[in-house]
Symmetry: C2
Subunit: 113 residues, 2 copies
Amino acid sequence: MEPLDLLECSPPLMREPLDAERAAGVARVFKALGDPVRLRILSIVASRAGGEVCVCDITGAFELSQPTISHHLKVLKDVGLVTSERRASWVYYRLVPETLGELSALLDVPAPV
Amino acid sequence: MEPLDLLECSPPLMREPLDAERAAGVARVFKALGDPVRLRILSIVASRAGGEVCVCDITGAFELSQPTISHHLKVLKDVGLVTSERRASWVYYRLVPETLGELSALLDVPAPV
DNA sequence: CGTCGATTTCGATGGCTGTCTATACGGAGA
DNA sequence: TCTCCGTATAGACAGCCATCGAAATCGACG
């Protein structure tokens, strides 16, 4: 599943109606963010100083099974919000700030009028 | 359903891990945004000059039944992304820029480092 | 007061999603 | 090579969601 190139060249924000294709792409990312567990996972990754988080650090923060965490990480990865890298036995996840930045710009409302 | 007061006082952004309660509240809004039709509806409302859109204007832009559009509008309204006002026979929807602004701030990543 | 048009609500249905258990994979070390 | 540990995948199940048609509601207007 391609990591959502649809976001690549985002028109400033909600100044003009999204066409169906772009909307579908953006919706994929928002859908990924629409789960409390994934939001918390993302915030853990984003707030980590070094920028990297080991999976084992994430599973420890939840009372969910390890496969469930792995599933959520895959969802976040599929939409381009995080990347992963294996080193030794551990897999480290890292934020993709560009994707978040695109979303933030898309939602940014300049002024009430 | 309360229009998500959880967002009211948003800590800057993803600087510290979201607690479960806040994550649940924010996830509700993102889940609402995680549908292509709702995204397009929202962009139609947001991009409209006067700031107001009649339901009839929205239904015309989709090949969906009118009740379906109404359902999506209710979802957007329940999470505080839009408000509605009835005038005469028509109901007009209007953007709530504060909610979008909160989300935008939440996702905003200051700098890669 | 009755009708009409616009919108919402209701009930049902098919598909998607979050979660689990069990299993497989991949690297490290003995 | 064998085993252990960390992680990913597969399959299954329950609950939620998008959608629809039908019916109810709500204003306006005779």
